[in-house]
Amino acid sequence: MDKRIKITLAALIVRLVIAPFFMHAGDLGTIYESSAIALNGGNLYNYVYQQTLQMQSATGLPVFFEGYAYHPLLIYFFVPFYWIYTLIAGPSSVIIGGHFPNLPVLVYPWALIAIFMMKVPIILADVAVVYVLSGFDLKKAEIYAFCPYIIFISVVWGMFDAIVAIFLLLSYITFSKTSYTLSGLTYGLSLTKLYTVVLFPLYVIRLWGKWKELGQFLLGFSITLIPVLYYLIVSPVAFLNVIVGFQGSRVMGGVNLYNFVWIIPDVRFDLLLSMIPSILLVISVAIIVLRYGRRLPLVEAILAVMLVSFVFGKVLNEQFLVSIFPLILLCRECDYRLWVAPFAFIFLRSPFYYFAIPILWASPYFYDLYLQADTLWMHLQTAGYLMIPMYAVGIAFSMLLLWNLIQVLKVSRPVGAENTRSRSLSRAVRIRRK
């Protein structure tokens, strides 16, 4: 069998075996709940907005309900698989509750099937990345296929950054092959998680002056905006509150230098302080795009913008690195071992047994063990012991991102020597031809 197929199948099998038995209850529960609402014709943004209004009314604080706060397109990746699940198990809810800090109620055996089905789009995205990468370099594809961090995020956690990764990778490849409409379309699809929005000015500046190509890119991109337009017409207040209000006024934190904020119990102050990284993000992205946007090969330019947004941006969750991991593998200047920091961070922020809820909830004995372990974990957390390594890992990861950013910027060429075809892609293609 072709080695490329072998790696892809191996990546698929590993993920299929793990998928039903683990989940991040809060995040996977949100997608499960949102798929059910969407399939029944409900408006996700109205639901989240109502919850937020209720919370704000009860507390008198600018707090937001953490529900579906993504691009409207995202849910359409999951709804078909949820629909198939309902054909098997019926429409009754089998993952009930689970929004932080509550724990979910799981109905067996259907909950395991539901968990599995909600991960199918993520697994397909992961496997597609492996397949595409193996077309360039089998070794890089192997790294992606079997990287513990990638596997954990996709099939243990159940987070869908692999969907961002595949579309960002395809956008880069199609742009390099001058298929600008496809590049715009795939870039638009990568916005299922909104943090890739910082790349939009980069694409525009690289095509600035080539009006036909820019038009093609924007045409492809605009197709992905149709659902956005729909919600802006149907429920503008709810949509803007959830997408702009929530995402724009989130308190900083994650695997970055801003974790000190968790020991400042003052949400108004935290929100005010969170404006500093937001301002720095805008300035730093503008500098990178204007100064290096055309002088760097495309993969390096994309990585420079994403890395600087990770370094200065206010929120950097553990899974965000997945989105650019394939591009990091294609870039010779970057060190892909970056994944170790966010991987370690996962186990400092959430106890490892939290991800094993689908297994532990199956038996009262394991459930009891969970509660005992959680008492110890809560003690460590409330005493502040976990905060110290979390803060250290956050800063260390930011410094590593900065180091990688500097390495990437070093390959910039003098003005006038721009080349839209990526050096990395050309190199990869040369290797493949050998």
């Binding site: 604080l61 707090v63 250290a392 410094m399």
Partner: protein
């Protein structure tokens, strides 16, 4: 590139001091809202946590800062909405709750048809006042928890029935052992009027809750406490703001050392082509 690194290092270290700055200049003596919807107040001697509307515990939880360990917070008593009732209605399950804070006063409003109740939490330098005001005369049962009180009004739990009704008065004094500091604490709950009943609940070698029943439209609980015998002072959550700058400087120093003396530009992806 060097200027970018320098800027970033200064940025990281400068930000690490923000928790100390906030604690010293902003957080003192005013109600601050958490991102979860809870509220907290830090006075020179007391730390009060009032949990979010989705949690019936810590309504409020009153802590004292020992004079010999000002960063530590020792819980004196915790009001529980889970186990408190007004006219037979549970404060957590049977009321709509909204919380509003001014800088000094926290006002929690409990509403249900025909009944409006305010729980006001106010701090002075020497005590914490929890005032309950209803729009009519009510029959209230308020529970306060402490794990655990070694004695209440001079009484120990030896052979005490569950619950033990103690003589009514306007003062409830109790002692407790704090395990984290290995110290002895004193607590006092003063009531604005004599209640109809005071009960204490034996648990292991002491008591774990005090219940106060009253029929009135108003009752004020004034809570104070102190830690009398200092034991060993260890690590506390309150020390974190002082530790973070050390961590930031250490991580940055390690980065600079590795960048200077470590292997530069080691290309790990290139190995894959061999």
């Amino acid at each position: 590139m060097k200027s970018l690194t320098t800027f970033f290092i200064v940025y990281v270290i400068a930000l690490s001091f923000i928790p100390i700055v906030h604690q010293m200049f902003i957080a003192q003596s005013s109600w601050r809202g958490y991102g979860t919807g809870a509220y907290a107040y830090q006075s020179p001697s007391y730390f009060v946590l009032f949990n979010d509307p989705y949690d019936g515990s810590s309504k409020p939880n009153i802590h004292v800062n020992p004079s010999f360990a000002p960063n530590d917070r020792i819980s004196i008593v915790e009001f529980s909405d889970w186990t408190s009732y007004v006219d037979g209605y549970n404060l957590f399950n049977d009321f709509n709750v909204t919380i509003r804070a001014s800088s000094k006063l926290l006002d929690t409003t409990y509403t249900r048809p025909g009944l409006v109740l305010h729980k006001l939490v106010d701090l002075s330098s020497s005590a914490v006042q929890v005032k309950i005001i209803a729009n009519k005369e009510v029959n209230a049962h308020i529970e306060m928890w402490k794990w655990i009180m070694t004695s209440v009004n001079g009484m120990t739990s030896v052979n005490a029935p569950k619950p033990t009704v103690i003589p009514t008065s306007t003062s409830i004094n109790f002692t407790f052992n704090d395990q984290s500091l290995n110290a002895i604490g004193l607590g006092e709950i003063s009531l604005s009027r004599v209640p109809t009943q005071i009960g204490v609940w034996p648990f292991e070698s002491g008591f774990n809750r005090v219940t106060v029943d009253f029929i009135n439209s108003e009752m004020t609980f004034t809570v104070s406490g102190s830690i009398t015998e200092p034991g060993q002072v260890g690590w506390t959550y309150g020390d974190l703001p002082y530790v973070l700058p050390i961590i930031a400087i250490t991580v940055v120093a390690v980065y600079l050392l590795v960048e200077r003396y470590g292997q530069k530009n080691k290309d790990h992806t290139r190995r894959s082509h061999r």
